[in-house]
Each structure stands twice: as structure tokens, then as C-alpha cells.
């Protein structure tokens, strides 16, 4: 997370309204990707979209209260279904493309990807 003087990437790219726009772009990519779409099929698309927004908010350093322990617990059932590095890389790839499409400058994209990378061990329950 950022310290008191530097703004988080979340704030720099426009806060909540920017997340709302990003979530549709990101969710579309994830659902269209046969390698990972099965993790995200949900009868309730609004609920899934809300979770994607939580994900985007977290990796951009926005207001989020998830701990590493939450990330472990939250993805444990997916790891049982076979969630692995290949899936993680696919999600990270879509995250990168989404931010680029929305015109986020490269240094900020790199920061976001670094935050995502730091969650890898917890998400994959290692």
C-alpha cells in the first residue's frame, strides 16, 4: 500500500468510477477466456461483477480490507478445483490488458501487476 504522501494507483486512475468502467472490460475478458471462464460462471452476473470490482480495487491499492488469510480462504475451493499458476497468469494478463485499454500509464500498470504478483502465494494456497 502507498504511504500518506503518494496517492494509490486506485486514486490516480480515478477511484470508484474508474473501477466501475474497468470491471465490465475485465469481466468480459475473463468470461471469454476458456482457460478460466469456468471459475467465473455464476447465475448472478451482478454478484460476480461485484467480486471482480473487489478484486480490481484491491490490486490497485484502493479501499479494501482483505487480508492474505482472506485471500487464502477465498480461493481455497478454487485451488481444490485445480486453480494453478497458468490460471493466475491468465488473470494477470487480462488485468494488464484492461488497464492498458483504459489508458492507464505503463508505470502504474506495472505497480498494479506487482501488487497482484504479491498475492500469488496466498491465492494459490502455497
Amino acid at each position: 500500500m502507498s504511504d500518506a504522501v503518494t496517492k494509490s494507483v486506485y486514486e490516480q486512475i480515478g477511484g470508484e468510477p474508474a473501477m466501475a468502467a474497468a470491471v465490465e472490460v475485465f469481466y468480459r475478458k475473463v468470461l471469454a477466456d476458456d482457460r478460466i471462464s469456468h471459475f467465473f460462471e455464476d447465475v448472478d452476473m451482478e454478484r460476480q461483477a461485484a467480486k471482480q470490482k473487489a478484486f480490481l480495487t484491491m490490486v490497485t491499492g484502493g479501499p479494501s480490507s482483505y487480508s492474505g488469510k482472506d485471500m487464502r480462504a477465498g480461493h481455497a475451493h478454487l485451488v481444490k478445483q485445480g486453480l494453478n499458476d497458468m490460471h493466475f497468469d491468465a488473470v494477470a494478463g487480462h488485468l494488464k490488458e484492461t488497464l492498458e485499454e483504459l489508458g492507464v500509464p505503463a508505470p502504474l500498470v506495472a505497480k498494479v501487476l506487482a501488487i497482484a504478483e504479491s498475492a500469488r502465494a496466498d491465492v494459490l494456497n502455497r
Binding site: 465490465e24 469481466y27 468480459r28 468470461l31 447465475v43 452476473m45 451482478e46 461483477a49
Partner: protein, 334 residues
């Protein structure tokens, strides 16, 4: 343990049990149908205690403000208590004014209420029989028409549709609860292309929405796809063809899986939609009818660029048989 108070008795809930399940299990009669938070037949009013947020999802603010919630999605935290009452206060008396077939297995049910029902074309109501049997039906009528019109598909062994088809007579007294749902036309962007798609009686709300949009002066293209397995499952074809002739912006496309003709396209609904509306970015869409189809079309349209906020869907979820009822206990007391 959590518990619920209803008409001066307390009913304990088992862990994980919803208020609806707990009350039904202990012999309290509560109208219900889909048990998935969609049909709103099991609306109840909290008169004491806190209602979990999840039990209010999809309810109008005015209902939430009065303490209403859905009993089927209401699961109470351990150790808490809730005092509840039925939603009788929301029911308006109505009378069946006419019953006439629209096709071999679709019945038009006309209803009149004593006081006009305040609704938007395309919303749905719960039809409640005098004995409490409740099912949701979409409104195919326009508010200005006064008479309410439902399109009811006859289900073999169906409690409500069977009653309407063979026992109910014009003049019969029923109750209506509602309206509910967000499937309706929103004026303000007359040029926006609109896509309406439904299967079977999923046409009912679309028939209201399309006429509402046209009367509001919608000038952008309006695509109406009505799907059925065979041509016998289509209905209101002449009316819709006439409407499209009078309004060149309306494109009416009846389609079937088998038995297509010169006027009726043949093939899966999503394929036909994609062929005619390949890039619906910035459009508004309404999808109604069979839950599986609504779900898959919703996903496909989202992937082809429609925004979730412009995608309105009503899944016609069937009723769930009461837990514990024996398989031989069919249409009975649900």
C-alpha cells in the same frame, strides 16, 4: 438458534434454514413459488427485529422502507429473533374478466382490479388464488388499457395454469401482489437501439414493453425476437406483424428450432440474434422466459458488448415443490 414469531407463536429455525423453510416445516402457510428470490411471492413484513440485507435484494425502496422482505432468502444469524407478518396488506383484490386462448397451450387471462394498479408495462405480479396458491406472471398490457393481461402457458399438472385453464371462470375473485421487476422501457433515449428476446410466454412482458416504447415515440431500431420449439409455440403473430407494418423501426422476428417457413426463421435463438444484431454495443436489451435461455443469452450479449446495466432479464423460474412432499403429492397444497 434463531427464531421467528408469527401470529403470536414462536418458531425455531434450524441452522441455515430460511424463514420460509422454517415456517412451512412447522405448518405455517406462506405463499411461495420459485424459492430463489425472484418471484416475490413469499413477501413478508418484519414487525420486530433486524432483516438481513440479502432478504431485501431486488425489492423496491418503498417496500424495504415498510419492513418487507423475502422469506425464501431470509436466513437469520444464530441467536437472533424476528417478528413477522404476512403481506396481505399489499394484496389488491381482482376479478378475472375474461379467459381466451392465444394458442394451443397459451391462455390470455384478463383481470380487473377495483382500484387501478400502478405498474410499468413489462413488470410482473403475483397472482394469488383465494386459498393462497401464488404464482408470478408478467403483465402484457399497458397501464392505460385498464384491463390487465397475462399470458399463461399451460403446464401439464400445473396447479395455477391448470386451474386457470379448466376451473376458473370469468368473475372469479383472486388477489394480485406487486408489481415487481425492472423489465420495462425507460424513456429518455429515443434513438437507442433496443433488443427484446423471449421464448414461449416470455413474449408477455415484451409485448407490453415494445408497445410502450412505440407509444413513447421511440424512433431507434427495435428488434423483437420470439422463439419457440415449433411454430405452434408462437402466438400473437398477426398482431406483431401488423405492429411492425405500422412502425418501420420495429423488426419482428419469430423463430423456431424446427419447422421454419418463409416467415419464420429456423435455428437457435442466439445464432439468429447474432446474425441480425452482430454488435449491440450501447444497446438496451430485455430477455424473458426460460431461465436457461435467459442466462445464456445474457452472457452472450454481455460478451458481445452490451453493458450489464442495460441488460434486463426476467427468468420465469418454476415453482419448487415443497420439501418433504411425497412425489405422488402433485399439484396439491403448495
Amino acid at each position: 438458534m434463531a427464531k421467528v414469531k408469527h401470529e403470536s407463536s414462536w418458531y425455531p429455525l434450524e441452522p441455515g434454514e430460511s424463514v420460509l423453510e422454517g415456517l412451512l416445516r412447522q405448518g405455517v402457510s406462506v405463499p411461495n413459488s420459485c424459492r430463489a428470490g425472484a418471484c416475490q411471492s413469499c413477501l413478508m413484513k418484519a414487525v420486530g427485529g433486524a432483516v438481513p440485507e440479502a432478504a431485501r435484494v431486488g425489492l423496491k425502496d418503498t417496500l424495504v422502507a415498510q419492513g418487507y422482505f423475502l422469506a425464501c432468502t431470509c436466513r437469520l444469524p444464530e441467536g437472533t429473533e424476528l417478528e413477522v407478518a404476512g403481506a396481505e396488506g399489499l394484496r389488491v383484490p381482482a376479478r378475472i374478466s375474461a379467459l381466451s386462448p392465444l394458442s394451443r397451450d397459451v391462455l390470455k387471462v384478463s383481470l380487473v382490479t377495483d382500484a387501478p394498479l400502478d405498474y410499468r408495462a413489462g413488470q410482473y405480479v403475483s397472482l394469488v388464488r383465494e386459498d393462497g396458491l401464488a404464482r408470478s406472471y408478467s403483465l402484457a398490457s399497458l397501464p392505460r388499457e385498464g384491463v390487465l393481461e397475462l399470458h399463461v402457458r399451460l403446464i401439464t399438472g400445473g396447479a395455477m395454469s391448470g386451474w386457470l385453464a379448466s376451473e376458473a371462470r370469468p368473475g372469479a375473485r383472486v388477489f394480485l401482489q406487486g408489481p415487481a421487476g425492472s423489465c420495462f422501457y425507460v424513456p429518455g433515449r429515443p434513438e437507442q437501439p433496443l433488443l427484446l428476446a423471449g421464448t414461449g410466454t416470455g413474449l408477455a412482458p415484451l409485448y407490453g414493453i415494445v408497445r410502450d416504447a412505440l407509444e413513447a415515440g421511440h424512433s431507434g431500431p427495435i428488434w423483437l425476437f420470439h422463439g419457440a420449439r415449433t411454430p405452434a409455440g408462437l402466438y400473437l403473430r398477426e398482431e406483431l406483424r401488423g405492429l411492425a407494418e405500422r412502425h418501420p423501426q420495429l423488426h419482428y422476428r419469430p423463430c423456431v428450432l424446427e419447422g421454419g417457413t418463409r416467415d419464420i426463421a429456423e435455428g437457435p435463438l442466439d445464432v439468429l440474434i447474432r446474425a441480425e444484431c452482430p454488435k449491440p454495443v450501447g444497446w438496451r436489451a430485455w430477455l424473458c422466459g426460460d431461465p436457461q435461455l435467459v442466462l445464456s443469452l445474457r452472457k452472450k450479449l454481455f460478451l458481445s458488448g452490451l453493458s450489464l446495466k442495460d441488460l434486463h432479464a426476467d427468468s420465469f423460474l418454476p415453482s419448487v415443490p415443497q420439501a418433504g412432499a411425497s412425489p405422488t403429492d402433485t399439484a396439491g397444497a403448495r
